[in-house]
């Protein structure tokens, strides 16, 4: 082959940019590693402990099941109630949070700003504060989950709204409809499938989240996990994990089925 064949345009190289980016990422990682006290030696030293715990984990205590039934039911009920109420609140809010459906710029900015703040706070922080406000139990958990759900659903649905086909809406506006009428009749049907799938997806998230928020006393499996872990009952903990696993997988199956039936 002659060298003259290579008439390929030279690729603009930005090697120094890659190097700088990698260096910055490396430095942040080292800083973070020092900050969290990363120490591989620790892991190696304590590996013996871990194998013991892992062996316990591999043997779930199935006899513990009857004591978990109430907590499982409570977790599921909390998740269902919170998803339903959260979704109901989110639907109109999503329309207020999208450029496409809300012509009122100041209102749009305010709604989006509030939603950004709502999402910035982790669900557990809501739960911890609400437990103090309304007392321990499922009510504080449900309230925390509702706030958390509204944050997620509004973000996902309003993003879907931003990319909706505007033709029908323009037609409705041109025919003299109000914005609300146009949004309701021309945009809402387009977005409904996305809304249903996002709500079902939040239901799954809620089951997982309620295992966490229970740690601060907001009811459900989390409260049980907290009890078990304080006494290092790993056999029982492993049964609870197994149960969460089964519930999440079952929900995933049911919700993908329901999504097909409702949306398809």
């Amino acid at each position: 082959m002659s060298a003259s064949v290579s008439t390929r345009p030279v690729k603009p190289r930005s090697a120094w940019k890659t190097v700088v980016t990698l260096a910055v990422i490396g430095l942040i990682t080292v800083w973070a590693g020092v900050g969290v006290g990363a120490d591989l030696g620790d892991i190696i030293d304590n590996w013996g402990n871990a194998t013991g715990k892992l062996i316990q984990l591999m043997q779930p205590d199935y006899w513990f099941f009857p004591e978990t039934v109430d907590a499982i039911l409570e977790t599921l009920q909390m998740a269902v109630i919170a998803t339903a109420i959260g979704a109901a609140i989110s639907f109109p809010l999503s329309f207020a949070a999208s450029r496409v459906t809300n012509p009122n710029r100041p209102l749009l900015t305010v709604v989006r700003g509030i939603m950004n703040v709502v999402r910035a706070v982790p669900d557990l922080l809501y739960a911890a504060v609400l437990v103090a406000v309304v007392g321990t139990g499922a009510l504080s958990g449900i309230l925390a989950l509702i706030v958390f759900n509204v944050g997620i659903i509004v973000k996902l649905v309003s993003e879907a709204l931003d990319s909706v086909d505007r033709g029908p809406q323009e037609a409705a506006l041109a025919a003299g409809g109000t914005w609300i009428a146009a949004d309701r009749s021309a945009v809402a049907p387009q977005i409904f499938p996305a809304f249903v799938s996002q709500s079902l997806y939040t239901l799954e998230l809620n089951v997982r989240a309620s295992a966490v928020i229970g740690l601060v006393g907001a009811g459900g499996l989390g409260m049980l996990i907290d009890n078990v872990r304080t006494f290092y009952k790993y056999h029982q903990l492993s049964l609870i994990i197994l149960e969460i696993l089964v519930i999440v997988l079952a929900l995933e199956l049911i919700s993908s089925w329901a999504r097909r039936k409702l949306v398809g």
Binding site: G35, V36, N46, E74, V134, L139, A209, A211
Partner: protein
């Protein structure tokens, strides 16, 4: 009647909306589940009545004014949580990156693909806090435990998103690389990676945003950061400090989301967010 009546120009009746009994059944089912849940759960609904009043009272305790003397502690706790999230995310990326190639249908062999996918699914089902509780015995109660829990948790989602992106890659370049006689490594590097890289980078950033929130939660079991500070202050009812902490968390999280969102947009569209497309 099949004969068209030409004298009246009445508009034909609108066609009936097709009914879908199965869909109705699903809706009825959903409503029933909701009703059952409401009925079955033991909740003191009467507490809801006091909620607005209580919220105002606690908001007053927390924010009017927030305890400024707690600012330093709140900032350092938040930074510790962010460090936990960053370190955990990087570790998670390092582990999940090769695994997601092996779990993709167009690269990994079947016997390796399915076990990996099951591992990802199992990890996704377990909350980070539970993972942290499990690995406590190896690492002790430190921020490092939190970072490891986040790393393991991230492998579940990053692995899944990764193999889905890799499976969705365009076939053309891969075939071209193969036709040109490339080795598997070369096919992956030049036929596949170039196509999926932006999407994968975006996932990494998105997971980091999620992990910042997750790390706040991990402190709850004593892994340091925001969670630990929150629990301590709520326990001693130091609401001013809780208020300060919430403000710091919101500010830093919004900041991280903004920066990460800008970088993500840069990766995906090649333009910074403030360069509006016309």
């Amino acid at each position: 009647m099949s004969v068209i009546d030409r004298t009246t120009r009445a508009t034909p009746a609108r066609p009936r909306k097709p009914r879908n009994p199965l869909r109705t059944a699903v809706w009825v089912g959903i409503l029933a589940v909701f009703a059952l849940s409401l009925y079955g759960i033991e909740i003191r609904w009467d507490r809801l009545l006091d909620l607005p009043q209580n919220l105002v009272r606690y908001a007053g305790l927390m924010f009017a004014p927030p305890d400024v003397s707690a600012l330093g502690k709140a900032v350092s706790a938040t930074i510790e949580s962010v460090q936990m999230a960053w370190f955990g995310t990087v570790l998670g990326i390092v582990v999940s990156f090769p695994l997601s190639f092996l779990a993709a249908a167009n690269i990994g062999p079947l016997w390796l693909r399915w076990p990996l996918r099951i591992v990802f699914a199992v990890i996704r089902a377990v909350p980070e806090v539970v993972i942290a509780i499990l690995i406590l015995s190896v690492t002790g109660l430190t921020a490092f435990t939190g970072a490891l829990a986040i790393a393991i948790g991230s492998v579940g989602t990053l692995g899944k998103w990764g193999y889905e992106a890799i499976e969705g890659a365009e076939k053309g370049p891969i075939e071209a690389a193969r036709a040109a006689g490339g080795s598997t490594a070369q096919i992956v590097r030049w036929g596949l990676w170039t196509d999926v890289a932006p999407e994968v980078f975006a996932f990494w950033l998105y997971r980091f945003e999620i992990n910042v929130r997750a790390s706040a939660i991990l402190g709850l079991i004593g892994a340091g950061g925001i969670g630990s500070m929150l629990v301590d202050n709520v326990q001693y009812r130091q609401w001013g400090a809780v208020g300060m902490l919430l403000i710091v968390v919101v500010v830093i999280t919004v900041l991280i989301d903004q920066v990460s969102g800008q970088v993500r947009r840069r990766i995906i569209d090649g333009s910074w967010g403030w360069q509006r497309k016309v």
